[in-house]
Symmetry: C2
Subunit: 409 residues, 2 copies
């Protein structure tokens, strides 16, 4: 009648120390520059403990001292900040037609941001392609004297990469000294919006993207929501109009068919406009069509504006579903939707008003991180893992155990 | 640069005591009968502390001793269980055409379950009607020598009850000695499925009902999800088919129009079948139509079976949306859907297979709590509040501060 003790409060001393190190690290991130006494006051840890924890974090080059505080009552105190010089976290996004690599330091400052086309032939050897890019970023970090904290790959829905990607990538990187992880792009992107965008502290946040397939990343009640099978926000084939256009899946009116990246690019390229992109001499892919549509919309091209307004209305049908089911505080339009947002949003808002799903239309906004959110979120996730108590150099150090974006490996 | 301390770890001694009392209470619920030593082993609290906490819980009549343990190594120990004799928690559901009142003891055992028709004239003075029913349940509890822990009212979406209901009800009950709360029916029902149904431990659980309006109660990541405005799962006007039947809201193809309680009742009452219910002499309302449809379906009436199969397919369109967005482990069909589930589920499952939203069809099941889930969940929520550390008799005692179903007051 008595089950074995499984009390989650029971933790060993190493776990407590690790947790407290993370508490101090997060405290400094939020309040830097701050003194040991400030940390003790903010965390409730006693000053001796804080001093010991800070010493260890200084030794591990996660914190650094930045001189004495001025304008303070009492004895001047040594101020602390995160050490921005010692580490790099790497995020790579695999989208349908391009790769983005971003490296950030421990403070979240962007060290580099590279974008590369992903031509069809490279898509067939994706692990090799991503490994080559990853190696270049790692080399750059090495040259800067930085230790790589980890590399996370954000895989867009519909790119075909799946379970095993991170394992294969780690193998291709030949025994990297840092964790290599992979997850869904939308899941990383929503974390980026919260960490680097204007949505910190928003408990219920949705990131909506489509590159190539519509996908939503969810933070609910302050926590990433992945679902029971890791498939939450898998809205590519959400049927928004059973009588709508045919989808490649064989059904009709899927969100992909009305408002996926290819559908939006096609719709936003009215007859005659195609030549604009083609004259550039490159194959006309979705990325280029969308760039061209943005340019035409900026120029006030009426057929393009009308097409984007109509696409926005169809996208609004999908957004209405997310609002009704989840009631998030904010829905961020990211990925390819971000640059098109000025012309998509009026249609989205109109449908939400008509359906009484969001009467004042203020909950749906464009990403301020543009198309980089997924890569940035992947890099930021590596920082989340560190701040979650898995410090570099620890025997424990592995991103895989962290409760964070769903992992495909 | 230093913000005021806001550390959640900082709690005062009374809070710690209260939390520990709740930890012991939950431990006994899960493991009863168990000894003080068992509790210490399971919770990690030391034996002296456990003894002190148990003494207080015995004094408050929340626990009771049930004799010595047999078949145990060492000195026989006094065993403890929850005290089922001293308290009653009351839940009332307000549905479109009926009220359900349920009282449970501290162990969750049902003390009474009453169902009353809610005729149109009573709907116009809902507070008075619910207060009258509530008083009768309280009187019964008093007669049994039980202290009422609280009364929670589950208000179905679409019944028109809103903010202020609990305050008005408390006023009508004339200074009750227990907390009076109100919340959405679906939110309480999903908690009932988790506490009293077969879905304990399911992290991502959805309860779907329609009495009168379709509504979903959500538990995600083990936590109730209410949304930023308290409107999550508000799917009555989710558009499942823009070309579908007209809805009373003026739009077309809302879930209410294709699979709300009235729509299902109407569809499941083929021409000619109406007379069956009418011969009973009562006004033909939705509750009665559904009871009659269940009877005809049991009897194998082909038009009824065909109509329910078609309604199940339309309901499946709504369930597919919930599965794609949330990826729950289980979707429970409750309320009016529960008695109809044997005939609705094949259509639901077929659509989910066709849309590849749930290939094996095993995630959508009928409620085993039948139509009582919301009232039971409301009563269970009162127990949740107690187990959350707000013990009866405490100065603190108020359900309103608990993180539980969204409250309409």
């Amino acid at each position: 009648m008595i089950t074995p003790p499984t009390d989650p409060q029971r933790v060993d001393a190493a776990d407590v120390r690790s947790t407290n190190l993370a508490v101090v690290l997060r405290c400094v991130r939020e309040q830097a520059p701050c003194s040991r006494a400030d940390i003790a006051a903010a965390t409730g840890l006693n000053k001796t403990t804080v001093s010991s924890l800070v010493s260890e974090l200084l030794k591990r080059r996660l914190l650094r001292e930045v001189g004495m505080a001025g304008n303070r009552v009492g004895r001047p105190a040594v101020m602390l900040t995160l050490d921005g010089a010692s580490y790099a976290a790497i995020g790579v996004e695999v989208a349908a037609e391009h790769l983005t690599a971003i490296a950030v330091d421990l403070t979240g400052r962007t060290l580099l941001s590279w974008r590369r086309a992903l031509p069809p032939e490279a898509r067939t050897r994706l692990v090799t392609t991503v490994a080559a890019l990853g190696r270049r970023v790692v080399t750059r970090a090495d040259q800067d004297g930085r230790t790589v904290l980890g590399l996370a790959v954000a895989l867009a829905d519909g790119t075909g990469a799946g379970p095993g990607f991170a394992t294969d990538l780690a193998a291709a990187l030949q025994a990297p000294t840092f964790p290599v992880e992979a997850g869904r792009g939308a899941d990383f992107a929503v974390l980026a919006e919260r960490r680097f965008g204007p949505h910190a502290g928003v408990a219920d946040l949705v990131y909506l993207t489509a590159d190539p397939a519509p996908a939503a990343g969810l933070v609910l009640g302050g926590t990433p929501h992945r679902g029971s099978l890791g498939r939450s926000g898998d809205i590519a084939h959400l049927v928004v109009d059973p009588a709508g256009p045919a989808c490649a899946c064989g059904r009709r009116g899927c969100l992909t068919a009305v408002a996926g990246a290819a559908a939006v690019a096609r719709r936003a390229t009215p007859p005659g406009a195609e030549a604009v992109a083609q004259t550039k001499g490159a194959p006309v892919d979705v990325d280029q069509r969308i760039d061209a549509a943005v340019a035409r919309a900026h120029a006030g091209d009426r057929p393009t504006l009308d097409a984007l307004a109509a696409a926005g209305r169809d996208l609004g049908g999908g957004v209405a579903v997310l609002l009704r089911v989840l009631d998030p505080a904010v829905v961020v339009l990211g990925g390819h939707y971000a640059p098109l947002a000025p012309w998509l949003l009026p249609g989205v808002h109109a449908v939400l008003r008509e359906q009484e799903a969001d009467v004042d239309g203020r909950r749906v906004v464009a990403s301020t991180l543009g198309r980089d959110a997924a890569a940035l979120g992947a890099a930021g996730w590596i920082l989340d893992v560190v701040e979650g108590g898995r410090l570099p150099g620890d025997h424990l150090w592995s991103a895989a155990g962290a409760v964070q974006p769903r992992l495909l490996t």
